[in-house]
Amino acid sequence: MLWSALNLTLGYNATLVTIGATLLGIATGISGTFLYLRKNALISDAISHATLPGLGAAFLFMTGVGLDGRNLIGLLGGSAISAALGLMIVTWLTTKTRLSQDAAIGSVLSVFFAFGVVLLTVIQALPSGRQAGLETFLLGSTAGMLFNDAVLILVLGAITTSILVLFRRPIILVSFDSTYAKTLGISPQKTDYLVLAVALAVTVIGMKIAGLILIVALLIIAPVAARFWSEKSDIIILISAIFGGLSGYLGTAISATAPGLPTGPIIVLCSFVLFLVSFLLAPRRGVLAAARSFWVFQRTVHMTQGLLLIAQNQPIYEPKTKRILQRRGFIRADGVATQAGRALAAKTLLNERRWSFWRNKMQQTGNLDESIVYSLVSIETKLTPDQIESIDRGLSEEQQERV
């Protein structure tokens, strides 16, 4: 069952939903990355909740003028307008009043959503409102997905994400250094509007499938997961698109295998699993890699300290240092250094002397990078032979002066 769902051979409707959700995942993955890099991830929460009153108002308006209230284009248009209004209010509150952005986001999302709920109770009171089915927008529903919906997602998703991909250079520049971007003539405000407009479009498109509450998850989780794997923005965008698409694809396939497995939540949980894997296993930024590099760092510190003590003929008291040195055969069980230990100790001491000479010199000229722990790296890997030679000359001059 799962296999045929993954193969897209589970029938017309299931295939349509799978393709639609995969495309949606890719689109949210890409646009969410830009929000995340700009530290704006939760603004998607405001966007999605602010769609509700527009949805209700559009239904009421269309019914009022005698059209079919459930017309999808009309409903999505209404939600887009109210979400845009919500976004404008968030921006206005953040820039023009002393409220911080989180308070602005929170107030807009709760008030808009609450007003949307009021409108839903109005609609339920109407004779035509009982079958409005607007509640499906809350949690999403893929059951009634039509071919046109899939095409709509494809076309709008393709347009919006290609806009972002085209303008990714200025947007990313603003995300990392908005002051510098300004000096280049890029307006951070304009790129922000662009990203928000695309996020809004993707939210509105995806509402029908994922539901307006869970679309936030799609915009946030895949980008956060992708961030673990790379430091390069292009690659993060690519990975985020892959993660988003993969969770849409796997999520719909899994939910097709049994009745009562709602698509939206399953897609979200799939992307959460991808997040968890990234969080734990990603090289460099993942938890395991971080723990390992901490362990290596700790071991290097103990080794260096111990070897310096050996070189200066001082006893080692720290048990962990002793254990590490003994295991590598640099000292014997009684604490006396071995031949190999003495050789390495002399080398470590020389390294330390050279670095401290260089550090002093750099400090005098004000060029010292304080963030590096110099004693732990071999000087040969960082400086050229010429530089080391001049350090050695300086060291021997110092020694002569002292004599």
Binding site: Y36, K39, N40, A41, L42, S44, D45, W92, L93, K96, T97, R98, L99, S100, D102, A103, I105, G106, S107, L109, S110, V111, F112, F113, A114, F115, G116, V117, V118, L120, T121, V122, Q124, A125, E135, L138, L139, I213, L214, V216, A217, I220, I221, P223, V224, R227, F228, G260, L261, P262, G264, P265, I266, V268, L269, F272, F275, F279, R285, V287
Partner: protein, 303 residues
């Protein structure tokens, strides 16, 4: 203003008042600490907590659900901190990952479990059931002096009032340290205040208020009341003490006016249906915020 009012409107109104005030009070400190959205996160993760409690006990009873919800809220707060620190993720995104995932898990569990016989669904969780918290034993104002009738008061009222008292006591006792960690946390630390513990206590208390309120009035009021009245007050006055007092007054006004607009005004205008009280109360608090943002004397940033 007769017996109908006492039996049908007064209990929901009082419960709404207690809920609004209990949420707005800690909200004052949360918005200053830029943690306003914690209320949003909590009200989403309450859903899986309640569903798990239901699956464990097999019935819709108050205490297990409250414990489940509070447990889920605290789990979420801890998880957010964990992935924020260990994964070096910005706090907004960390929050977004955790609360949406837990909410999704809650919806999935709800759909999977057989809850058709009980009143447990996502919409109830969002919108609450304020209007149904009625006092059937009441026959008028005099019922407040009859022990037998008082026993029939909705339990939510007593619970919400207790929570309001607890929150007020916390704020009263820890007033100075709370004010310090809001405005100058490093300084507070040098004065020997356990800022991390106090911050966590604040969030936990908010979670308890949110969970208790959530059961009675739905999550919309909770989020709106944690943020809107304090934010409105912040745009109107400049001292923390007056901000807290204003926020309480605003919470009361929003609840009373919102309840009236939802329950009475449509009937006066000749419509036959009432509107969602929870939604209307939250909308009113938004109207106040809009006015303060446009005209509040302290709306601009001090430069």
């Amino acid at each position: 203003m007769g017996s109908d009012f006492v039996a049908l409107s007064l209990p929901p109104l009082l419960i709404g008042l207690c809920a609004s005030m209990a949420c707005a009070l800690p909200g004052n400190f949360l918005i200053l600490r830029k943690q306003a959205l914690i209320g949003d996160a909590i009200s989403h993760v309450v859903l899986p907590g309640i569903v798990v409690a239901f699956l464990v006990t097999g019935q819709v009873s108050t205490w297990p659900m409250m414990i489940g919800a509070a447990g889920a809220a605290i789990t979420a707060v801890l998880l957010i901190e964990l992935i924020r620190r260990v994964g070096r993720i910005e706090s907004g995104a960390a929050m977004g990952v955790i609360f949406t995932s837990m909410f999704a898990a809650g919806v999935l569990l709800l759909e999977q479990s057989d809850t058709s016989q009980v009143h447990l669904d996502v919409e109830h969780a969002l919108f609450g059931n304020l209007e149904s918290l009625i006092w059937l034993d009441a026959e008028g104002w005099a019922s407040f002096f009859q022990i037998k009738a008082l026993a029939g008061l909705p339990v939510e009222l007593l619970r919400m009032a207790t929570v309001l008292l607890a929150v007020s006591a916390f704020v009263y006792i820890f007033w100075r340290p709370l004010a310090l960690i809001c405005f100058d946390e490093p300084y507070a630390r040098t004065r020997g205040i356990a800022a991390t513990a106090l911050g966590f206590a604040l969030v936990t208390l908010t979670a308890i208020a949110a969970v208790a309120a959530f059961d009675a009035v739905g999550s919309i009021i909770v989020i709106a009341m944690i943020i809107c009245p304090p934010a409105t007050a912040r745009l109107m006055v400049n001292s923390l003490r007056s901000q807290v007092i204003y926020s309480q007054v605003l919470a009361i006004m929003a609840t009373v006016l919102g309840y009236m607009f939802a329950g009475y005004v449509p009937l006066w205008l000749g419509f036959s249906n009432t509107l969602s009280a929870a939604g209307m109360i939250a909308s009113m608090s938004g109207v106040f915020l809009a006015c303060a943002a446009l005209f509040g004397p302290h709306r601009r940033r001090n430069i």
